[in-house]
Amino acid sequence: MSDNTLNLTLRVWRQPNRNAPGKIEEYKISGISTDSSFLEMLDELNEQLTVEGKEPVAFDHDCREGICGMCGIVINGVPHGRGNSLDTPTTTCQLHMRKFKNGDVITIEPWRAAPFPVIKDLAVDRSAFDKIIQAGGYVSVPTGAAPEAHANAVSKLKADRAFDAATCIGCGACVAACPNSSGMLFTAAKITHLGLLPQGQPERALRVKRMIGKHDELGFGGCQNLGECAAVCPKSIPLDTISQLNRDLIASLFKGDGKH
């Protein structure tokens, strides 16, 4: 175990705050276990920086189990550092140092998109996603007794698609990967999740207009169907959800309750 250690050169984006300009700084780090996770490697870097009396690198993280959507770093030009060209994409916290070789130079940057301003170093403000959800990513459930379960049959196909779309953790890798900084995959995942289930029907036509309207208003780019987003999505949200969004949007143009 102890034989498998790495000596690495890290090129890390350092930016003191939202308004200050940032730049890449280089750090050497040694003795990193191949069994450690990428974030544990950054923890070690921060200990080293603290000992040296330097400011530690700020980065987002929370569960470190790949389910919360908090972590997110662009590693060597790929959001979360992996992408499906090598393996199934994962979150940054599920990326392990065994994926790197001794002597590697690793470039570490924050998500870059106008609607995701950098707060500090690698931490970005992703509250734009919350605003898109607030615009329509919900169902209104009237209070009262629970409805009889068999009254709302859902086909297995739709239930599966809705569930797959619902696994989106809102990490923002789709936006980070997109050459247009589009948030369509995130928006489409919620549209698909709610639009395929009975509870989502009453607001379906309005939801897509409101969410895509908010998405555009917040300054995200448009979709070119390139597929970069789906290729880095740690939850493998498929690109076809975006076509689902477009179908719902086209359908909403012909619906009275789709007036916005």
Partner: protein
Amino acid sequence: MAVTGLVLIAFLLMHMIGNLKMFIPVYVNEVGETVNEFNHYAEFLKQDLLYPILPKGVFIWIFRLVILACLVLHIYSAVTLWLRANRATASKYTVKKTIKQSFSSKWMRWGGILLALLLTWHLIQFTIVPTLAGDHDPRSLVIAAFQQPLFVAIYVAMMLVVYLHLAHGFGSAFMTLGANTSPKAERVLRVIAHWVAALILVGFVAMPFSVLAGVIN
């Protein structure tokens, strides 16, 4: 973007079939008339299409206006999306890799600009100048043009840019219109796009090469 793009592709297919009529040589029919299929087709488009529903020579202008409107709207949508993307990606990565994006999709915007320039040249050469000069023999015009290797080279270059544009654009248009229903549908759409683009490329460059080689004269 998608709708206007598909209309323009439909136009290209029609244009291609028209061009392929160059392969029918001028011949004398059984009653002794000289038949020039290509010129006849050009004349039909400009004068007789939808006649007598509309007066002679009217439909071609409606047709041109529709195609021009599609071009203008297509370019307008592209510019709007480009500007939005530029604002959204104002801060650049020092290292950025693309994983899935096809080569053709990287050329959509600059390729589009190139196409607009080449198309302008193409229209000046084959539509505007002959019309102003009152030329009524498009077959001879085409042959004269494509006997020059330089014109063939520029034309083929233009069609290669069209190929790149459609290899992404055709599939992407259908995805935008909602046809991407599954990962399999996405693969099928991307393959069909390449085939449609290849069909248009071959269909358009076959004639100039044949003129250059002296097969069509």
